[in-house]
């Protein structure tokens, strides 16, 4: 077919113009909701009005972690390899090869999951999400929740792994961070580095960070209750509620193989200093902290990444209220389960 009209030469340009204008990228959703399916988890969380919410379900190559509550979003960052542990007294793990893996899914395990665009997580190893969100300042009552899967060697004890942290700049007197809060995994007995790992809450008291110890005996009254221990090969829905006014702090753990009602750990509150305007340093950190060590000696210069979380994570949300147990349970249930398509 010979081209015998000059205007055929304009055809590629005209089509390009139309496509540039409409920017079609495919005939199926590549992000977002399940066509025809209700987003049960999303509805449950959105209904409780989080002030920051990162589902961490971006596709590979993304550099922005979307804040479902609107801007500002977070930024994915990966530390250079190898990541140093810093001073041994800080108890931060070293990472030989840092990495960030987005969009993890396993259709071979549960076939229907391949149809669920919500079923993705991010894997951190010397990487993190950093988000500077003004709404997180001055929090005196809050809830933090995250779906986590620990992937480090649990037999190599004595280190701390940061799920998330919101901490202020180091206190001038101690040169160590003294405001904010963090969700960590670390030795269950802070004085015994070889004790098994447990999920822990640390808060700033104005001068440094303190761990909020679990009230013992545990509520379950079960001698076999291991406490909020980190389990190998198990996804855990972690939630922490804090109310300065009510002097109450509670750590909740929900796991598929646990009774969802029984794992509630009241914590012993201590003095708490929130991050306030003017003292925030690098905002919310998910997957590591960049705001210095938990322990002395203070860092002479800012440490870009400490306590890197090694494992998968999704559905990180922060609320400016202390959610009730039933609300959290609903999040956990919808986070772990979804309605599969009717067909």
């Amino acid at each position: 077919m010979a081209v015998n009209h000059w205007y055929f030469l304009l055809l590629p340009l005209a089509v390009l113009a139309v496509m540039s204008l409409l920017r079609f990228r495919g005939c199926a959703f590549q992000t977002g909701g399940i066509p025809g399916q209700p987003d049960l988890y999303g509805s449950a969380v959105a209904g409780d009005n989080p002030i920051a919410w990162f589902r961490l379900e971006e596709t590979p190559g993304a550099t922005t972690a979307k804040n479902q509550e609107g801007p500002p979003d977070g930024t994915y960052q990966t530390a250079a390899s190898p990541l140093s542990a810093g001073n041994p007294l800080w108890n931060s793990p070293a990472v030989a090869n840092t990495s960030l893996t987005l969009g993890i899914n396993n259709p071979s395990l549960v076939v229907m999951e391949s149809q669920d665009p919500f079923d993705f997580s991010a894997r951190f190893e010397g990487s993190q999400v950093v988000a500077n969100i003004p709404a997180l300042l001055n929090l005196t009552e809050f809830t933090v929740e995250a779906l986590v899967y620990a992937d480090w060697d649990l037999n190599a004890t004595g280190k701390y792994y940061c799920v998330l942290e919101l901490a202020g700049i180091p206190h001038p007197a101690t040169n160590i961070k003294g405001a904010g809060f963090g969700l960590y995994a670390g030795p269950s007995d802070t004085q015994n580095p070889s004790s098994p790992y447990s999920w822990q809450v640390w808060v700033g008291n104005g001068l440094n960070f303190d761990r909020l110890e679990e009230v013992k005996p545990y509520l379950s009254n079960d001698p076999a209750d291991p406490g909020p221990n980190v389990e190998k090969d198990a996804a855990t829905y972690l939630a922490f509620t804090f109310s300065q006014l009510q002097n109450q702090a509670i750590l909740y753990l929900y796991a598929l193989d646990r009774n969802l009602d029984d794992y509630k750990y009241p914590l012993t509150p201590t003095t708490y200093a929130p991050v306030v305007i003017g003292t925030d340093s690098q905002g919310l950190q998910i997957g590591a902290t960049a705001q210095g060590p938990l322990f002395n000696p203070p860092a002479g210069t800012p440490i870009p990444v400490l306590y890197p979380f090694i494992g998968q994570m999704a559905n990180v949300a922060i609320y400016n209220t202390a959610l009730t147990e039933s609300q959290l349970r609903q999040h956990a249930i919808t986070g772990f389960f979804f309605n599969s398509p009717a067909n």
């Binding site: 077919m1 009209h5 205007y7 055929f8 055809l11 590629p12 005209a14 089509v15 390009l16 139309v18 496509m19 204008l21 409409l22 920017r23 079609f24 990228r25 495919g26 005939c27 199926a28 959703f29 590549q30 992000t31 977002g32 909701g33 066509p35 025809g36 209700p38 590979p60 190559g61 893996t101 987005l102 969009g103 993890i104 899914n105 396993n106 259709p107 071979s108 395990l109 549960v110 076939v111 229907m112 999951e113 391949s114 149809q115 665009p117 993705f120 997580s121 779906l147 899967y149 090969d233 996804a235 598929l256 998968q312 772990f336 389960f337 979804f338 309605n339 599969s340 009717a342 067909n343």
Partner: protein, 263 residues
């Protein structure tokens, strides 16, 4: 029925496939190639049949964006529960989301005044548009296969092979986009080989009936089937279009209408 969300035990990563770098833009690239090729071939086909090439080209260039808009609109309608919550997403086309039948229906409606303005016979114009659409579909569905949109359902059949879905999850799937490209190719070959002597919309209606029938048969091989009250939406549309095309052809022939080519 509930399924456990056990993806945290995952070892499979959809980011690790060597094609993933190509995957991201494959749909847009193939849509572009398909549109350029389809419009060119369709226009030349119309010119071959005695229609003014410039006006046919202009018509097709107007119908192309109309088809894209229509396909998006049908997708939005079918997934209104999602778009109702976030209406800014309706035109966030970079997220993907389009339904071919919407493009066909909307562009047909748009062509009614367009054909009148351009003084083109509607039936003859749509004979050419049908050729353009079939050519374009062959390219575009290859793009779908590469990108993972319109993915086939997971299967261990001998005809299934490793391919992604829109979320980048790779597994053995039935190659639905290739099936659809095959329907388009067969319809195209049949139309050019056996229907070239018919015009006035006959070729268009015949192609519509062939594609609709093929789509109706193949719809269950898709991973995601859009349903309304349990019925496959695209099967319903296919059935309606096939029935309409067949009925129009039947009554047209019955009433002594002519499909002679005007050259």
């Amino acid at each position: 029925m509930h399924n456990a969300r056990a993806y945290f035990r995952s070892g499979t990563r959809h980011s690790s496939h060597p094609w993933d770098g190509v995957r991201r833009y494959s749909y847009a690239c193939m849509l572009y190639l398909g549109a350029v090729s389809g419009i060119f071939v369709g226009t030349r086909f119309a010119e071959h049949r005695g229609l003014p090439a410039l006006r046919v080209l202009a018509a097709m260039l107007f119908l192309f964006p109309a088809a894209l808009v229509g396909s998006r609109l049908l997708f939005v309608i079918l997934h209104w529960r999602i778009f109702r919550r976030d209406r800014a997403r309706i035109w966030r086309t970079v997220e993907g989301g389009a339904a071919l039948y919407g493009g066909l229906i909307f562009s047909f409606l748009f062509s009614l005044p367009l054909a009148w303005v351009l003084a083109l016979p509607l039936g003859a114009l749509w004979d050419a548009v049908a050729i353009a659409m079939l050519v374009g579909m062959i390219f575009t569905r290859v793009g779908c296969l590469l990108q993972g949109c319109c993915a086939g359902r997971p299967s261990q059949s001998w005809i299934a092979f490793e391919s992604p879905n829109a979320q980048g999850v790779w597994c053995r799937r039935l190659p639905f986009p290739l099936f659809e490209a095959g329907i388009a190719a067969l319809a195209l070959v049949f139309a050019i080989r056996f229907l070239d002597h018919y015009s006035g919309g006959f070729l268009f209606l015949a192609c519509l009936a062939m594609y609709g029938t093929g789509r109706w048969v193949l719809e269950p091989t898709r991973e995601k089937v859009d349903r309304l009250a349990g019925w496959s939406v695209h099967r319903i549309i296919s059935a309606v279009l096939v029935t309409t095309a067949a009925a129009v052809l039947f009554f047209w022939v019955l009433s002594g209408g002519s499909f002679a080519v005007t050259r």
